[in-house]
């Protein structure tokens, strides 16, 4: 069923009786050609591309809870392409381009809003670093420009320019913005489902059936399901799932906290990043301020964080926007990050034939949703890496081709 303004009117006159479920709730078939483990943004985008661009006909997405209940439901909704290493710029720029076309492609409103990403700086060396970064970005064909303090003040008059770390300017990435995180999951789910993909919820993978180095299928809480190929797309839980296949990964699980305030009238027009501490903020269309900061920095699978980071995020919020000191916080939660050894993802085959991995997304998975889906679908269907995914090999840690955008060394908690 196509969504449109006309349909909204028609259904309003029809007592809303014509709306159909956006996706089915089928029983698992005994086997599929391709199974994607993980019903998040990436897994469902993968299924969408498998069914559309790659013409695959026998696909299932297996999700342990309800779709979008993992990190797709917990992120801070930022979509941006402000990277500097060429492989990253190519990949994320492509992803932003796919976001720009997504709503038309999926016939679904994902509320993608390119409201601009601002990163303020506070001293000469930070400013120089931002000049360097935006020069690199522009040379590679994406947008980034430097603003002086007066230009920043015009955009955000309520920012505190004279605090402990005065604001001396910023860089602006106009194509950056936000999107509704649940909607992208639902949009891809609806598209995949109407093209025959079975979305199997409440279906947790308990193990793999592997014989002579080849995957035969998955053991789940809803029984064994056979497959020719299996793609693992569970970032946050990659280590646990790959452990079931006997594979160790260059990934540590870390918690990243996020916060939402009560609904407020529009006061933060774009997405803002602080230069004197790790903090970022934007405002959702419901009016809540969405904020985040550093990882808690120790291994955790708890999906909740501790007070020190909570305090420092709120401290930064009130330092940057003193007007926020009276606002009330509505929710605080944690997501589970696949922190990799160089801060970037793995989209690759594994030593087990038929088993493929899409993981290690650190805190950058949401913006990568469409491009990761496309690349993983390409890999699963053709068994060859997509051009854009070639740098994200698992063996790059052995061969030395690390994507050390941040230059932090093999320290997952500092990426």
């Amino acid at each position: 069923m196509r969504y449109s303004g006309l349909r909204v009117i028609r259904e309003a006159l029809n007592g809303q009786k014509g709306w159909k479920p956006a996706w089915r709730n089928p029983e698992p078939k005994p086997n599929y050609d391709i199974i994607v483990i993980g019903g998040g943004g990436h897994g469902l985008a993968t299924a969408h591309y498998l069914a559309t661009k790659y013409g695959e006909k026998s696909i299932a997405v297996v999700e342990k809870g309800w779709i979008g209940s993992g990190n797709a439901g917990r992120n801070t909704t930022i979509v941006r392409g402000d990277y500097t290493l060429p492989p990253n710029t190519r990949f994320y720029d492509h992803s932003v381009g796919l976001w720009e076309k997504m709503e038309r492609e999926l016939n679904f409103n994902v509320m993608h809003s390119q409201r601009g990403l601002l990163f303020v700086h506070h001293n000469d060396s930070e400013r120089d670093d931002h000049y360097r970064k935006t020069n690199i970005m522009r040379m590679q064909g994406t947008d980034g420009e430097i603003l002086g303090p007066e230009q920043v003040r015009k955009m955000y008059p309520s920012m505190n320019f004279d605090g402990r770390f005065p604001i001396t300017g910023a860089y602006l990435h106009r194509r950056g913005g936000t999107a509704r995180h649940d909607a992208v999951v639902w949009g891809y789910a609806r598209s995949a489902d109407r093209r025959g993909v079975d979305i199997l919820q409440n279906c947790e993978v308990m193990g793999f059936r592997i014989e002579q180095g080849k995957v035969l299928g998955i053991e789940t809480t809803r029984g064994f399901i056979g497959a020719r190929k299996v793609g693992v797309s569970v970032a946050g839980n990659t280590s646990r799932v790959m452990d079931m296949a006997g594979i160790r990964t260059p990934i540590e699980s870390h918690v990243l906290q996020a916060f939402v305030s009560e609904g407020l009238k529009p006061i933060i027009p774009g997405q803002v990043n602080y230069g004197a501490g790790h903090f970022y903020i934007s405002q959702s269309d419901k009016g809540g301020l969405v904020m985040g900061g550093d990882l808690d920095q120790y291994n955790s699978c708890a999906q909740r964080g501790n007070l020190p980071v909570f305090e420092s995020v709120i401290e930064a919020a009130v330092t940057l926007f003193p007007m926020l000191s009276r606002a009330r916080l509505l929710r605080a939660w944690g997501g589970l990050q696949d922190m990799s050894m160089d801060g970037h993802a793995v989209i690759d085959e594994t030593p087990i034939k038929g088993l493929y991995l899409n993981g290690g997304w650190c805190y950058g998975g949401f913006k990568a949703t469409p491009a990761a889906g496309e690349c993983f679908a390409h890999l699963l269907s053709t068994e060859q890496p997509h051009e854009l995914a070639k740098p994200y090999r698992l063996d790059r840690f052995r061969t030395g081709y690390l994507l050390d955008e941040k230059g932090q060394g093999p320290n997952p908690n500092r990426q």
């Binding site: 646990r240 160790r248 990964t249 990934i251 540590e252 291994n299 050894m341 093999p410 908690n413």
Partner: protein, 95 residues
């Protein structure tokens, strides 16, 4: 989170800096025949369990000692704290 330092008693998490899995104590022998493989696994691969985890913490804002903490990564409950120097020496490392 409170870490019960063996010498100093309970201390706030903020006094510490986290390094990672305590497997880092077992640095491979660089002159071993398969040193390349061993170093690849040592530097880059991790067990990353959901459950009990032995890890290295540095008491940066305290006595600057290194600790091996046994902590559950699901509940964050800490069940054991030892001086890393004791652990390393017990494992035959260090002089």
């Amino acid at each position: 989170m409170i870490i019960n330092h063996p010498l100093l008693g309970p201390r706030d998490r903020q006094e510490f800096t986290y390094l990672g899995d305590a497997c880092l104590i077992d640095r491979p022998d660089w002159q071993a025949g398969n040193a390349m493989d061993q170093f690849y696994e040592y530097v880059y691969l991790r067990d990353d369990p959901a459950g009990e985890h032995r890890e290295l913490w540095y008491h940066e804002h305290g006595d600057r000692s290194w600790l091996v903490v046994t902590r559950n990564t699901v509940t964050h409950e800490i069940t054991n704290v030892e001086l890393a120097s004791d652990v390393a020496r017990k494992q035959g490392r260090s002089k």
